[in-house]
Amino acid sequence: MKNRSLVSIDDFSTEEILRILDLTEEFEKQPIRKLLEGKVIATLFFEPSTRTRLSFESAINRLGGKIIGFSDSSSSSVSKGETLNDTIRMVNSYCDLIVMRHPIEGSARFASEIATVPVINAGDGANQHPTQTLLDLYSIRKTQGRLDNLNIFMVGDLKYGRTVHSLVMAMSRWNATFNFISPDELKMPDEFKMYLDNSGLKYYEHNDFTEIISKADIIYMTRVQKERFSDPIEYEKVKNVYVLRNSMLKNTKPGMRILHPLPRVNEIHPDVDNNPKAYYFEQALNGVFTRQAILCSLLGIN
């Protein structure tokens, strides 16, 4: 994987994904290792994303690397009208690896073709966010002890949520069964259902939470965003249908875990937080270990 970029989860083979997850396990056991001493990592955040940026910067700091970059394009030369092409060419000569978040789709692939150093896509518009997918896979494997033959429930905005799209594609490598719970307006797009059909995998669609969640190994919650609805009345109607409460978890499997890419708004009631099945904050911590593993793999360290 040395000197490769990570733009889309499909860039990695199943074997490579598993190798990253194994390495993540090592970093979880021992997170402070000065493997990036003397390395400079650029974190270019053309749109703000506090959570992802802090997770990357925490990972780099724990590895002893140095960070250059910006957290918002208004404080960079982009506000002067510089093209992405020029920004990447310039930054490329200042650093050993580029982490980039950009609102325009395909920008990360474009950057990876210009840069001679590896590029990690930290989110390109509604397209891809592969480090999130890898940390989700790590969280699933860690809590379930395996990736094969799991029943994955996805809830909320399945239409625009790139994390659920990438996770569907990734989990389809391990014979998952999917249950999609969403309002009609935010259903899983046809292209992903077609992909599952072609792969011979089972999926079921539901409009609300029912007893069916007792079959879940993982419940992956997402935020239903107000701005996705053209009609605000429709939003008001559905916003409380997709709220997970502690009382609903009674008949779920003991090993079931609830994941959420965060930030959450009201879709997981705070009374779930103390339930041992709630895993979203640990999931966020796993993100730091996963990013340590990705950084080291792409730089050919370890």
């Binding site: 789709e105 474009f110 509604a126 397209n127 292209e191």
Partner: protein, 152 residues
């Protein structure tokens, strides 16, 4: 000339005839092949009757013989096009176009949020379906289908 029937577009001595071009896409074919920038003699007819296409166009280019990879570039807009290679007024070879696996620099990505619509980037697509042409953008990974296909 062998054929006695009246030809809508007069014959050429040496060169290439591109037949069965959908009339609506004639100028796209001209643009893709760069026929508007060469100095050879070109004659074309359009809105000619065709049993298969309804209205078709035909282009006759004197003194030009295309490489397969160049001619396949028109497959997106003229998938049924047939080529006759003419030498000394005779058809010496017939060719059909084939949709290539990768399309570079011909089509525009329909996703308004794609990087190719913001910066100078040569577009690049892989073909997801050849029948009802549908293209997957190498950059934003979104699908552009036939109805939304725009030629750059």
């Amino acid at each position: 000339m062998k054929e006695a029937k009246q030809m809508s577009v007069s014959a050429i001595q040496n060169g290439t005839v591109i037949d069965h071009v959908p009339a609506s896409n004639l100028f796209k074919v001209i643009q893709i092949l760069g026929l508007d920038r060469i100095e050879n003699q070109i004659t074309f007819g359009t809105n000619l009757e065709s049993k298969k296409l309804g209205l078709k166009a035909i282009i006759k280019i004197s003194g030009v013989f295309f490489e397969d990879k160049d001619i396949n570039r028109i497959a997106l807009v003229a998938p049924d096009a047939k080529l006759n290679i003419i030498k000394d007024y005779e058809v010496v070879e017939k060719k059909v176009v084939e949709v290539p696996e990768i399309i570079v620099g011909i089509a525009k990505c329909m996703n308004p949020k794609c990087i190719t619509n913001f910066e100078t980037v040569t577009t690049r697509f892989s073909i997801v379906s050849k029948k009802n042409i549908s293209l997957k953008c190498h950059y934003c990974e979104k699908i552009t289908n036939q109805e939304n296909l725009e030629i750059i």
